[in-house]
């Protein structure tokens, strides 16, 4: 089976039911997307497929249908941060950080579709992403800052 992740094509030999998350993590060693619940309850596994945030634990690789996958690693790198990642660093959002790949991918997708979200928009879009450490106040602030950065750019 072929798939494109962060612009690179890969060939994997797996059963079509295997969720994208585990293809990324265990077959391709792309470990930015995290396993948290496996049942669409935490959002730690969030990646973009054709630019849209999806829970990679819920998407069977056989259903990817040629969709291009972007993981947190493809959004931005330490030396070339995406505006959302920059805002995350500026607001010192992370505690344990385990949820943050998913939070950032979710936020980036939100801002793609809605460049100037209200507080209610942010809460609605981000509430599927659990943060056990409780960094929500900082996530809210960082999403707003990222929105401004992206609009100014």
């Amino acid at each position: 089976m072929r798939l494109t992740v962060n612009g690179t094509e890969h060939e994997v030999e797996v059963e079509p039911e295997m969720p994208l998350l585990w293809v990324l993590r265990d077959e391709l060693n792309i470990t930015g997307p995290k396993y948290g619940c496996g049942i669409a309850q935490c959002g730690a596994c969030t990646v973009h497929v054709d630019g849209v945030a999806v829970r990679s634990c819920q998407l069977a690789i056989g259903d990817l249908a040629g969709g291009e996958v972007t993981t947190i690693e493809g959004l931005g790198q330490p030396e070339s941060l995406h505006a959302v990642q920059q805002a995350w660093v500026e607001h010192q959002v992370a505690q344990c950080g385990y949820c943050q790949s998913g939070q950032i991918m979710q936020a980036a997708s939100l801002l793609d579709f809605n460049p100037a979200p209200t507080d209610a928009d942010i809460d609605a879009a981000m509430s599927g992403n659990l943060c056990r450490c409780g960094t929500y106040p900082r996530i809210r602030a960082a999403v707003k800052a990222a929105a401004q950065k992206l609009q100014g750019a």
Binding site: V14, E15, M18, P19, W22, R25, D26, E27, N29, T31, G32, P33, K34, Y35, G36, C37, G38, I39, Q41, C42, T71, I72, E73, L75, G76, Q77, P78, L81, Q85, W88, V89, Q92, V93, A94, Q95, C96, G97, Y98, C99, Q100, S101, I104, I122, D123, A124, M126, S127, G128, N129, L130, C131, R132, C133, G134, T135, Y136, P137, R138, I139, R140
Partner: protein, 747 residues
């Protein structure tokens, strides 16, 4: 230990500089109680002045041995060393290092001396010093827990930085002929009077041959460059780019993935199983038995999960009551002398005190830790060495557990401590390490990564202990005159230490923590008694441990009493509080929230609560609105006194996160047992707080306390009672049991 390491150690005992096998070693600082583990394999030309600083010709490495599960101690440790070492954080490499008793936790014993932590009298300090000395000799524990990371590190790591700096200056003086007094240090270099900079890396070889300069006075905090100022945490960029390697992300050549199924009735037997279907599933390499269950080893985590699900099991009974109602019934029957854990505090005479009585019974349920990174460990066993890649908070004990399973000497068992995706106490447990070692021991030569499925993580959590409280308060003349608090619970410490093969003599102080030591010194009549059982489900330390349930019980009862007295909830607490540092905390939270009484307009209410845990007084005010769709938690204000702030930004993050954690669990979480198994199997049934329920949270830190304190846990306890008290103010409904959503709807 390497051969040269052994020689070096022996040599240090006689206190002279050593040149062994052509390798130069620095002399070990004489006053260190334990050998410097860095010296064992130190290459030529490198210097290590103490267990926390290594300098070679290429780089400066700082060892930050405390486990980081999100609280930020990795960065805090590095900053404390760098502050005195005069080096910038982007000039150093920081590592967790390898476990060693040189890194034993000096602050951990402080709470064991039998004095409340707000008591800093000479007697209390003398006893603490004595207890600390005994424990250091008997069982030096390298551990991160009990909010002790910062207090343990504060002096010790600054001292480590200062010692290294002065030794490097001495080396520069020898090299340049300029007296030490005319040298200064900056940004990783010794600066000569003419402005020439000698980088530390260039001085390492010479410094390694010098006896370390000890007894260096620490700088006045006024001179600090890093500590006390907003920091950029060292892990922040990596955590924002998916590039940080957690234990679960460890990858090794030829590594296989394992999943387990262990009897969901905790501690119950494995009576039988049929793995024939699983055996034939794709990717399955091996199916092995482990204590109480079975492991599937496969080439992919998901395949291992799938195959584990396909095994049919016959499980034995649970060694505790099967149904939740029996757990509560048991607790309600232990408020008697036979189960007395301690009469922890008696002031005046609660029974003789006059006044109108207020009574309440309170409940705090079992709660899962459920950190977002599920438990995992990677282990490689060979015949003479074991490597473990996992995040753990009691590192050397984990090595000992693995040594016992594999038969490899503990000296050759190496735990590579990893960044941890949350713990809340779960990474103090050993089951996942033990199981990974049992599996890898049956797969010698192959690294195996065990990952718990979320369902397994819930089923095999050792949750927060279940607690029931009974209280009687008395009020007279508009004042609270007496509180009589009884707390019954499953003993956390006995349960947890029992799994480590340790026994706890005497009472379990966690069963009254946060209640017996609440410094309401002006309350004339007070009694706190705790009752203990070990007949219920196995439990473990859950963020804030006893103070979580106990502060909920105490502060709800107190709030009821204050209401009955007709007094103001904040003013009456301030009046009762005889502890200056805490009075200032309460006054400051009132100011921050512009407190003007509990009612905040129609359908709105404010509640206040105070909690004292791990030496930190915290006061929280919560404001709620009662809407048609349910209670909306709108705002929270939190003030704490940690003695000294290391990083104000991280501290604020912990205050917000701890408040979210306390509130989220109070509104919608509990673990209940049915047929001996936890009924909640994943986050849908134990949600905690999500963003749409999260209030705006404002925080202020004070620095009046006599000692520096850790802040990982203290923000949690007062949040639940502050919310309950706010709901009462808004609706008139008093909720005495968590989770609150059993009694009232939330937005």
């Amino acid at each position: 230990m390497s051969r040269v390491g052994k020689i070096a150690r022996r040599t240090f005992l006689i206190g002279s500089a050593a040149i062994a096998g052509g390798v130069a070693f620095g002399v070990y600082a004489a006053r260190q109680p334990f050998d410097n583990p860095n010296l064992d394999d130190l290459p030529e030309g490198a210097a290590s002045f103490n267990p926390w600083v290594i300098v070679d010709s290429e780089k400066v490495t700082l060892i930050a041995p405390h486990a980081d599960k999100g609280q930020g101690i990795f960065s805090a440790q590095a900053a404390l060393i760098a502050e005195e070492l005069d080096i910038e954080l982007d000039q150093v490499e920081v590592s967790f290092g390898m476990p060693d008793k040189a890194y034993y936790n000096r602050a951990l014993t402080e709470a064991m001396a039998g004095f409340p932590l707000h008591d800093t009298s000479p007697t209390a300090e003398r006893v603490r010093g004595f207890v600390g000395g005994v424990v250091k000799l008997a069982m030096p524990m390298m551990t991160t827990g009990g909010s002790t990371g910062v207090p343990d590190s504060y002096d010790k790591l600054r001292q480590a930085g200062a010692t290294a700096r002065e030794t490097l200056k001495l080396a520069a003086s020898r090299q340049s002929g300029v007296p030490v007094a005319e040298l200064r240090t900056e940004a990783g270099a010794v600066i000569l009077p003419d402005g020439t900079a000698l980088p530390y890396t260039a001085l390492a070889g010479l410094a390694a041959t010098l006896p370390p300069v000890t007894d260096v006075p620490l700088r006045d905090p006024k001179e600090w460059r890093l500590v006390g100022k907003p920091m950029n945490r060292l892990d922040m960029v990596a955590k924002s780019t998916g590039t940080l390697t957690y234990g679960i992300d460890h990858r090794a050549e030829g590594m296989l993935h394992a999943a387990i199924k262990v009897n969901p009735r905790q501690g119950g037997a494995l009576k039988g199983y049929d793995a024939s279907a699983a055996q034939a599933m794709p990717g399955v390499k091996k199916i092995v038995e482990i204590t109480g269950g079975v492991a599937v080893v496969a080439d992919n985590t998901w395949r291992a999960f799938q195959a584990a699900e396909a095994i049919a099991f016959d499980w034995g009974e649970a060694p505790y009551p099967a149904e939740q109602a029996e757990h509560w019934a048991h607790l309600s029957g232990i408020f008697d002398d036979d189960h007395l854990n301690a009469e922890a505090r008696v002031e005046g005479d609660v029974e003789a005190a006059e006044g109108e009585e207020v009574r309440g019974e309170y409940r705090s349920p079992y709660l899962a830790h459920a950190p977002l990174e599920p438990l995992n460990a990677t282990v490689l066993v060979t015949d003479d060495r074991v490597d473990i890649w996992a995040g753990h908070q009691i590192q050397m004990f984990a090595e000992q557990v693995v040594s016992e399973i594999t038969g490899v000497d503990q000296e050759n068992v190496h735990l590579h401590n990893m960044f941890i995706g949350g713990s809340f106490g779960h990474r103090l447990e050993f089951d996942f390490i033990r199981q990974a070692a049992e599996i890898a021991n049956q797969m010698r030569g192959t690294p195996v990564q065990l990952t718990y499925s979320r369902e397994e993580d819930f089923a095999h959590d050792f949750p927060r202990h279940i607690t029931m409280g009974r209280g009687v308060a008395k009020v007279k003349g508009g004042r609270v005159t007496a509180l009589d608090v009884q707390i019954a619970g499953q003993s956390v410490m006995r349960s947890q230490m029992g799994r480590m093969g340790l026994s706890l003599p005497g009472p379990d102080t966690q069963l009254h923590e946060g209640a017996w030591d609440a410094p309401y010194f002006n309350l004339p009549n007070l009694r706190v008694r705790s009752y203990r059982t070990e007949a219920l489900a196995p439990v473990s330390s859950w963020r804030a441990v006893g103070a979580g349930p106990n502060v909920f019980i105490y502060e709800t009862l107190l709030d009821e009493a204050i209401h009955a007295a007709g007094a103001d909830p904040l003013e009456e607490r301030i009046r009762l509080m005889g502890h200056d540092v805490s009075v200032k905390v309460l006054e400051a939270v009132g100011e921050l929230a512009s407190w003007n009484g509990p009612s905040a307009g129609p359908g709105r209410g404010r509640g206040v609560a105070y909690g004292f845990s791990f030496g930190v007084p915290v006061a929280t005010i919560v404001e709620v609105a009662a809407t048609d769709a349910g209670i909306r938690i709108e705002k929270a204000w939190v003030v704490a006194d940690v003695g000294k702030v290391i990083d104000p930004v991280n501290l604020e993050n912990l205050a917000q996160g701890g408040t979210v954690f306390g509130l989220g669990h109070a509104i919608n979480c509990e673990i209940t047992y049915a047929d001996g198994m936890a009924e909640q199997t994943n986050y849908h049934a134990h949600e905690g707080m999500r963003m749409y329920q999260c209030p705006e949270i404002r925080f202020k830190a004070l620095e009046n306390g006599a000692k520096i304190r850790g802040f990982g846990e203290p923000p949690v306890p007062p949040s639940a009672p502050a919310l309950g008290n706010a709901i009462f103010a808004a609706t008139g409904q008093r909720i005495r049991e968590m989770p609150f959503n059993k009694f009232i709807d939330f937005l």
